[in-house]
């Protein structure tokens, strides 16, 4: 089984989620490894800083919210059977 490329960043988010929710609910956090880089008003701003700092290497930009809402599709074009990292 392949490891999720962003596993470490997602773990960092979960560890800090309550603090992030308290101070920055609805904003976007930029995380690299175990480090929270900063919080931004928009996803595009967070990605811009992420690319500027880390170039084309994996980093996490995540909306700070209590529950992550899945994206919904009515199309039969999408054929998923396994999570992306498997």
């Amino acid at each position: 089984m392949n490891k999720n490329i962003l596993a470490e960043e997602l773990e960092t988010y979960e560890k800090n989620k309550q603090n992030l929710l308290r101070d920055n609910r609805g904003k976007y956090v930029l995380i690299k490894g175990k480090e929270i880089i900063n919080v931004f008003d928009t996803q595009a701003d967070a990605v811009k800083v992420g690319i500027d700092k880390f170039g084309n290497s994996p980093f996490l930009v995540k909306k700070i919210q209590e529950v992550d809402t899945p994206q919904n599709f009515t199309s039969n074009h999408i054929k998923v059977s396994l999570p992306c990292h498997q």
């Binding site: 996803q43 595009a44 990605v47 170039g55 992550d68 899945p70 994206q71 599709f73 074009h77 992306c84």
Partner: protein
Amino acid sequence: MPSVTLKSENLESEGPILEVHFLIPSELEKKYIEEKKPIPEPVIIKSLIDTGASACVIQKEIPEKLGLEPMGVTKINTPSSKEHECYQYFIRMVIPSHNLIYEGAFIAAPLEGQNISCLIGRDVLKSGILIYIGYANQFTLSLL
């Protein structure tokens, strides 16, 4: 507001399909130019405008061809699956002939059938206008 208008004899059966170019994000392109790295060639594919898609989906191979790394993970629900995890990539989508540009997060997932490699979802449409004139087999997409 830049816009593209297309006619299709098979609009009812195929839906609003258009050819788009995928490129690396503009910020990364600037960085590559500064670092004198080669810019990956655009990936040109057919996209379907899908009002039943809450977000954009691209064929998994597109970010691989552009050499991009993920910037997020999201869960997706489809008619045949629930809460599947997929990577998100920040990508620039362009229709060069009409100067339409959208830069944002795209979900990478396997897409099958009709040579469609991208679903353009409501996250793009929220900053645009879609006019679908069925009796004329014509549609127009405008983006801010």
